[in-house]
Symmetry: C2
């Protein structure tokens, strides 16, 4: 299973972006400073987010990024997919790698990992960016 900094940063950055979305586009530099994420790394991440139509970029002075949809329409699943964070619990799925063809009794636990994958993805399907920004602005103290 993969869920690494890239995915986490993507979500953090977009939550940040959602908070400041109203007025100007938000520059990566600002996000970098506020969230403590390397600018270069952010660029990699946003390149993918843009390709997946989650954000739009505005070039030139005072440019930056804006969300391409309403925060409520941006599911976490979308974000994580965009940055190639696959929540894969089994490898034996893609092409029958050794140790997992259903003919033999091998890969006894195949169903289990499938269920887990569904369980986790359900979580990411349910949550959207809006949920996040509500959550944080409240839980500050």
């Amino acid at each position: 299973m993969k869920l690494t900094s890239k995915g986490r940063y993507a979500v953090m950055a977009l939550a940040d972006l959602a908070n400041f979305n109203s007025v100007h586009p938000v520059s990566l530099r600002d996000i970098s400073l506020r969230q403590g994420i390397s600018l270069d790394f952010l660029e990699q991440i946003f390149s993918k987010l843009k390709k997946n139509n989650i954000v739009k970029s505005i070039r030139g002075t005072n440019g930056g990024y804006i969300l391409n949809k309403d925060p409520v329409q941006i599911k976490l699943a979308n974000i994580l997919n965009a940055v190639d964070e696959e929540v894969k619990t089994v490898q034996c799925k893609k092409e029958s790698k050794k140790g997992c063809n259903s003919k033999t009794s091998k890969c006894i636990t195949h169903n289990l990992w499938d269920e887990l994958e569904i369980h986790i993805n359900y979580f990411f399907e349910k949550k959207n960016l809006k949920d996040l920004i509500n959550n944080t602005s409240e839980s500050r103290n």
Copy 2:
């Protein structure tokens, strides 16, 4: 988040063990052959399972391992803990690593990852070994 082969193998091996538990102890060699897992790797894994009282070992000729409890009492959470697979979604938890102190607006997504962690752990708390062996013996075809 971590969920790697070690955890997967541990679960597979124990499911296999549960299937053959009734009569003799089961040797790691057998499990290795049936599940296609390296014997040496299995030894590492079972050493930990034993330390955590999930299995008992029986030495000597025809020795091997047996479950230490009824399969229904062995939760997946127990197994994964035993082999050090922590399902941790945030690092910023242990000691306030940079980027996550609740004073600033950083780590906006902290709550989210906490929720995810709970969500996943719930799954592992619910499932036990018995569930697994029922599942597989049925879904064979």
